[in-house]
């Protein structure tokens, strides 16, 4: 198991996505959702599959009660918001979103705030909690413009089993459209979806899991390794994580498409990214899109409306930085992720400063000629890849462990 990712689950718990058990559940789910013509029966069947899958990840009554509380609480807030209509103050929406974020941080890290944290004495492992909280935010913020807000649709959206563990982060309006339709076919048909699933299984279980042993995760004393091996391990880990995560997403997207739910894409060849901003537009796109729509855009709008014109750029840059920090801490509330967020935020701020001050100095045509140069493009990609790989160390090894590895890499 990776350092820092020990969530207390043993290898015998959960439902493995590469097991025959999961295969049987998936086949049954596809057959049911494609053949039951009566809408409510089909939706109830989906609920049964969702609950069955979820049951393998809930241990004891405590997480069940917490999940039930989150589902009922979110749904009730949506109902109250609808009832209040125009009288619902905007400030309350902001307050609720902040509360959801605080709830997420407190659940994920029971040590946060010490005894003041309600989960301090009763820590709880709620699978996919980061995704559940995002779905709650999506529902509460957009409830007025959503259709079919019945409880069955809502619960199926919240715990839709293909995307339960790690996304992609689907939006309610899109989910609901396919939840109501029967035999909906958008884009991929059966054979392309099966290819997508097979590609996902190869990327995740054949390539990533076999390459993992060459990465730096599995070495207990990374800094003691020979210099070229450290570089190889560190540079390989981003590729392994990409294969792992995008392989998982291929599996999920293929399965969901077979079930009649085309799920949004999550990756767009991130290894081709030339800078940090480009990277986040290609990596975990559903997360970046969520933060853009529910944090960056409202805050930017606020800045444009309230801030002095001369200070708008500084404020927008600060918003970029804040969003990057949120993205990092959404993964986990450790110092390692905090530093990861700081580094990515700083890189993003640097990019904005470059665009504002240096680009005009170089000139549009000068910049375009550099950008069109193939060698410059590949150098930018390689540098960006190296930067992301180095910063990902902070996910796994914390601040001091990562600094030790980086020191060994540059032979300090």
């Amino acid at each position: 198991m990776f350092p820092g990712l020990d969530t207390g689950l043993s290898a015998h718990q959960g439902l493995f996505l590469n097991s025959w058990h999961f295969f049987a559940v998936a086949v049954l789910a596809v057959v049911c959702l494609r053949t039951i013509p009566v809408r409510y029966v089909r939706q109830a069947a989906l609920m049964a599959f969702n609950v069955y899958f979820l049951s393998y990840f809930l241990y004891g009554w405590y997480p069940v009660l917490l999940l039930a509380g989150l589902l009922v609480g979110t749904y009730l807030i949506g109902l109250i918001k609808l009832k209040w209509g125009q009288n619902w103050p905007d400030g309350l929406v902001v307050g609720l979103v902040v509360l959801f974020w605080i709830f997420l941080f407190l659940v994920k890290d029971p040590r946060l705030l010490g005894p003041a944290n309600p989960f301090h004495y009763y820590p709880v492992q709620l699978i996919g909690v980061s995704y559940l909280v995002f779905r709650s935010i999506n529902y509460v913020v957009d409830v007025e413009i959503l259709e079919n807000r019945n409880f069955l649709t809502f619960v199926n959206f919240m715990i839709f089993f293909p995307t339960l563990l790690a996304g992609p982060i689907e939006r309610y309006d899109r989910f609901e459209e396919f939840h109501s339709a029967f035999g909906y076919q958008e884009g991929p048909t059966v054979l392309p979806s099966l290819h997508r699933i097979a590609n996902g299984l190869i990327k995740k279980f054949v390539l990533a899991d076999n390459l993992m042993v060459f990465g730096i995760f599995m070495k207990p004393d990374q800094a003691e390794l020979a210099w070229p091996l450290i570089w190889l391990g560190v540079m390989l880990q981003l590729a392994v994580i990409y294969l792992d995560f995008s392989g998982y997403c291929d599996l999920v997207i293929g399965l969901a498409a077979l079930m009649g739910f085309p799920v949004c894409e999550n990756f767009d060849r991130p290894y081709l990214a030339r800078n940090v901003q480009d990277f986040w537009n290609r990596w975990h796109m559903s997360l970046t899109g969520f933060i853009r729509d529910y944090v960056f855009t409202p805050l930017s709008r606020l800045v444009m409306e309230k801030a002095d014109r001369r200070r708008q750029f500084a404020w927008i840059t600060a918003v970029y930085f804040f969003c990057m920090l949120l993205i990092a801490l959404w993964h986990d509330t450790t110092w390692g992720f905090f530093v990861f967020g700081l580094l990515h935020g700083a890189a993003l701020v640097g990019l904005q400063l470059f665009r504002k001050y240096l680009s005009p100095a170089i000139g549009r045509s000068g910049l375009a000629s550099i950008r069109d140069e193939a060698a410059a493009a590949w150098a930018a990609r390689a540098l960006n890849y190296a930067f992301i790989s180095m910063t990902i160390l902070f996910w796994y090894f914390g601040v001091s462990g990562s600094l030790e590895i980086i020191k060994a890499m540059v032979r300090l």
Binding site: F2, L5, N18, L165, L191, A198, I202, D332
Partner: protein
Amino acid sequence: MNLKHWGKDLAGAAWLAVKIAVILLLMNSGRTFFVYQNF
């Protein structure tokens, strides 16, 4: 046209069979990253 369509599907199915064989032969079933993480 129809024959071409069938040929394409058949080639796709054969390619899928190769992929499945690769998965079954080379899959490392020791770990599943996403089951362990607490995202």
